[in-house]
């Protein structure tokens, strides 16, 4: 039986440098037909870089990629496609205004089929692999999981037998993830070779046959999934033993700081982002917000932070509505709010400025006279570097040069430093590796213990259930419930995210 297993891709000594940075350093990897290989590693360990080389987006500086046993020169995505390699990128490569069908045939060499024939062909393909899709629906009107299905179909349509999925579950609900895994298993049964990049350990254990672990650009080990557990994988990934449980201190004397009543928000295009949203935020507590991407989380944050006007409803602080008030007026009421937006380098920090200048953005008003006094800001930057172990060449290095985890520490550090009593964080650990994520959880817990009311908008339900005290679940801008994180199950939250009423 062993002899019939064919190697699909073998990487030998792949090295890739970006300027000074060595992203991949002599990587060895092998994936066979009829198996799912998980590629596990922290951020910046070189997973995506490696896969981009296999799919022809980057070129390796050294080393050989063998496809079906022969060395392959993959110079472009077209070459990769000709070799039967298809990549499903983390950030979908879809043309939004085009229909699903058009996206699927885009760039293929065949003649343009009449819409009907194409539709039939796409639907046939769907049936083979058990996928469902509306071929005529424009991608921009699709949910994330539908978009992913289009990406998968795109790859299958081109006859790919080697599939690479870059963090495919990052944006899916647990139910959608299960569905995706069912599809992947079906493809595996049909003999495809599948590489899945992820840093969620439970998913690695659920779907893969073997795991290759990368650490700082090197391939440290490849193990059979059946013979390992989460703790062992983490150890391989981080390089030392790490405790995987998240601390959850008991809330002390929670007081309602903000009561949101019948909140309604409309997007610029006229669609409803939030409808009749009611909840309370309490001091000394972490309130989690769960929901499929685009369920109104972003609008919720921005309304509370005063960046977006509300069409309806109120956010009451001791019977005073803070909606529509300027940040200065809100501060005068005694609320000091800090907002850690989802888009760290867009809304949170100025990417091209150093730490000092980014600190100043929050504090320059306190300075006297027309001139800027950099000294206190620099001192603050230096103390943050020390306290939070921020890895940076200096306080004046533009923050966009830092890794994701360090950027988040800079942002969160600055916000915490201002001593808020309400801290709103949107996806604070998105894209961060395990180590950095735990640092962030600790920071949030410290704030909670100080009596700060923390709002945590998250996407990983395991984390939400372990870290938060209560979880507010949104679906299409409506609250489907507020669950007690100590008793709710992942499955319940998942069902609430899709709009089901759940008895808690």
């Amino acid at each position: 039986m062993e002899q019939t297993v064919q190697t699909a891709i073998r990487c030998r000594g792949i090295t890739k440098r970006f300027g000074e940075v060595v992203a991949n350093d002599g990587i060895e990897l092998e994936v066979r037909y009829g198996e799912v290989l998980a590629l596990l590693g922290e951020n910046g360990s070189g997973k995506t870089t490696l896969m981009n080389m296999i799919s022809g987006i980057y070129h390796p500086d050294e080393g050989v990629i063998e496809v079906d046993g022969a060395p392959a020169a993959i110079g472009s995505p077209a070459d990769a496609q000709a070799l039967g390699i298809g990549m499903i990128h983390q950030h979908f490569k879809l043309v939004e205004p085009f229909s699903a069908m058009d996206n699927i045939v885009l760039g293929t060499k065949e003649k343009r089929l009449p819409a009907k024939a194409l539709r039939r062909k796409v639907l046939e393909l769907c049936e083979t692999y058990g996928l469902t899709i509306e071929p005529e629906k424009p991608v921009r009107e699709m949910s994330v999981s539908e978009k992913q299905t289009v990406e998968i179909l795109k790859v299958l349509y081109r006859g790919a037998r080697i599939l690479i999925l870059d963090e495919p579950t990052a944006v899916l609900t647990p139910q959608e993830t299960d569905k995706l895994f069912a599809i992947l298993r079906q493809m595996r049964a049909k003999g495809c070779a599948i590489i899945i990049i992820t840093h969620k350990l439970n998913e690695v254990l659920a779907i893969s046959d073997r795991v290759t672990i990368l650490r700082r650009g090197r391939s440290v080990d490849t193990v059979e999934t059946a013979g390992v557990d989460a703790a062992r994988l983490t150890e391989l990934m981080v390089g030392r033993k790490v405790s995987l449980s998240i601390r959850r201190p008991e809330p002390k004397d929670p007081q309602t700081i903000l009561k949101v009543v019948d909140l309604g928000v409309t997007r610029p295009d006229g669609s409803a982002a939030l409808t009749d949203v009611n909840f309370t935020i309490r001091t000394g507590e972490i309130l989690g917000v769960a929901g499929v991407a685009g369920s109104g989380q972003k609008e919720l944050c921005e309304v509370l932070a005063g960046l977006l006007p509300a069409q309806k409803g109120a956010a009451l602080y001791h019977k005073e509505n803070i909606l529509g008030k300027s940040p200065a007026e809100i501060i005068n009421l005694g609320i000091s709010m800090s907002f850690v937006p989802e888009d760290r380098l867009g809304m949170g920090l100025v990417a091209g400025m150093g730490m000092t200048d980014n600190m100043l953005l929050k504090s320059y008003r306190e300075g006297k006279g027309p001139f800027v006094d950099r000294a206190p800001a620099r001192a603050l930057a230096e103390s943050l570097i020390k306290e939070l172990n921020i890895v940076t060449p200096g306080t004046e290095t533009p923050v966009r040069m830092l890794s994701g985890g360090n950027v988040q520490k800079v942002l969160l550090g600055r916000e915490i430093e201002s001593g808020p009593n309400l801290l709103i964080t949107a996806y604070p650990v998105r894209g961060l590796d395990i180590n950095s994520s735990y640092v962030i959880y600790d920071l949030l817990n410290q704030q909670k213990e100080k009596g700060v009311a923390v709002v945590f908008i998250g996407e990983d339900l395991d984390v939400l259930l372990e870290l938060c005290d209560r979880i507010l679940v949104l679906c299409h801008g409506r609250v489907t419930g507020v669950a007690d994180a100590r008793t709710a199950t992942k499955e319940q939250i998942g069902r609430m995210m899709t709009g089901e009423e759940v008895d808690l």
Partner: protein, 317 residues
């Protein structure tokens, strides 16, 4: 009624250079490149077309020369923005200044060489540029003058617009090209040669603009060389792209409207006492209005190519 018919006919003729400029720019913008050099490419085409017609007595050669000159201007732009990823706005503006300057410079040089001190297209060429005369059809009442009595440029322009619409919306290449303008990363991942098609479209677009320029120098000024013959039409064309919602066939109607604005002053009774300067201003005022209205409608799903103005670099991190 007769006056209105004449007005329409004049509007079509006045709109034709705009049509070329607009269609050329649509091709360019569909691959995600905003080329503000339309005015410059038209100026280059104006000069090359006029001089070729002057020298060879052949309208077809004049068209080819104008096309080549516009394409040459676009090549500079494409090398700068596609290959070297220079800022598109700066490259386009510079191309306008360069094109207009070179065109005027060459015109003055040729004027200096001519004995009479002026340049006039020979009769052999102007004969080819006269309004067509199709037996029966051109003699029909109303329909004849409205549809079948224009100079050859007009029909060429409409043909070019329709062919471009077919190319963009009916062929597979067109689909690929649109994908490049919407999301070059997606197009690249779908194994479309992004750089190649960007060049093809930008160069073709430039060539088409060049023919529009030849219209200005050869028709509008009655076959006499004048400096600055394009006179800002290239800028209106850039705005017309938005008015036409990035559809070449819509550009036919758009250029008709703007053509009508340009000739309006000759068809409104003088007794109304509207100053001439106001008429001159109208197309530009309309341009400003189009920009304002289209930016207000943006959220309602206008068809602006998603990556317009953004250069594509595959290995960007």
């Amino acid at each position: 009624m007769d006056l209105f018919l004449k007005f329409l006919v004049a509007a079509v003729a006045a709109g034709t250079p705009l049509l070329f400029g607009t269609v050329g720019e649509i091709l360019t913008e569909k691959v995600g490149h905003l080329n503000l050099g339309v005015e410059g490419m038209m100026a280059l085409g104006a000069c090359a077309g006029f001089m070729a017609g002057y020298a060879t007595d052949n309208l077809l050669l004049a068209w080819l020369a104008a096309f080549a000159a516009g394409l040459g201007g676009a090549l500079i732009y494409a090398v700068l923005t596609v290959t070297f990823m220079a800022n598109q706005n700066v490259a386009g503006l510079t191309l306008t200044i360069f094109g207009v300057g070179l065109s005027n410079f060459f015109g003055i040089y040729m004027l200096g060489k001519s004995e009479s001190g002026s340049l006039k297209l020979p009769e052999a060429v102007t004969a080819q540029m006269r309004s067509v005369d199709i037996p029966v059809l051109s003699d029909l009442p109303v329909v004849g003058p409205l549809l079948f009595q224009y100079n050859p440029f007009v029909y060429l322009g409409i043909a070019v617009a329709l062919v471009c619409a077919w190319y963009l919306f009916r062929t597979k290449t067109g689909l690929n090209v649109q994908a490049i303008g919407e999301n070059p990363g997606a197009a690249d991942a779908a194994s479309i040669d992004v750089t190649r098609w960007k060049y093809v479209n930008i160069l073709l677009g430039g060539g088409i603009c060049g023919i529009g320029g030849a219209y200005c120098s050869m028709i509008i000024n009655g076959g006499v060389w004048l400096s600055d013959s394009v006179g800002g039409l290239g800028w209106i064309a850039v705005a017309l792209v938005i008015f036409a919602a990035w559809k070449p066939h819509m550009a036919i109607w758009g250029s008709l409207v703007f053509g009508a604005l340009r000739v309006l002053e000759y068809y409104v009774p003088q007794s109304m006492g509207i100053p001439a300067a106001l008429y001159k201003m109208l197309p530009f005022l309309m341009t400003a209005l189009v920009l304002v209205i289209s930016s207000m409608r943006r959220s309602a799903g206008s068809r602006i190519p998603g990556s317009l103005g953004v250069n594509y670099f595959r290995e960007e991190r």
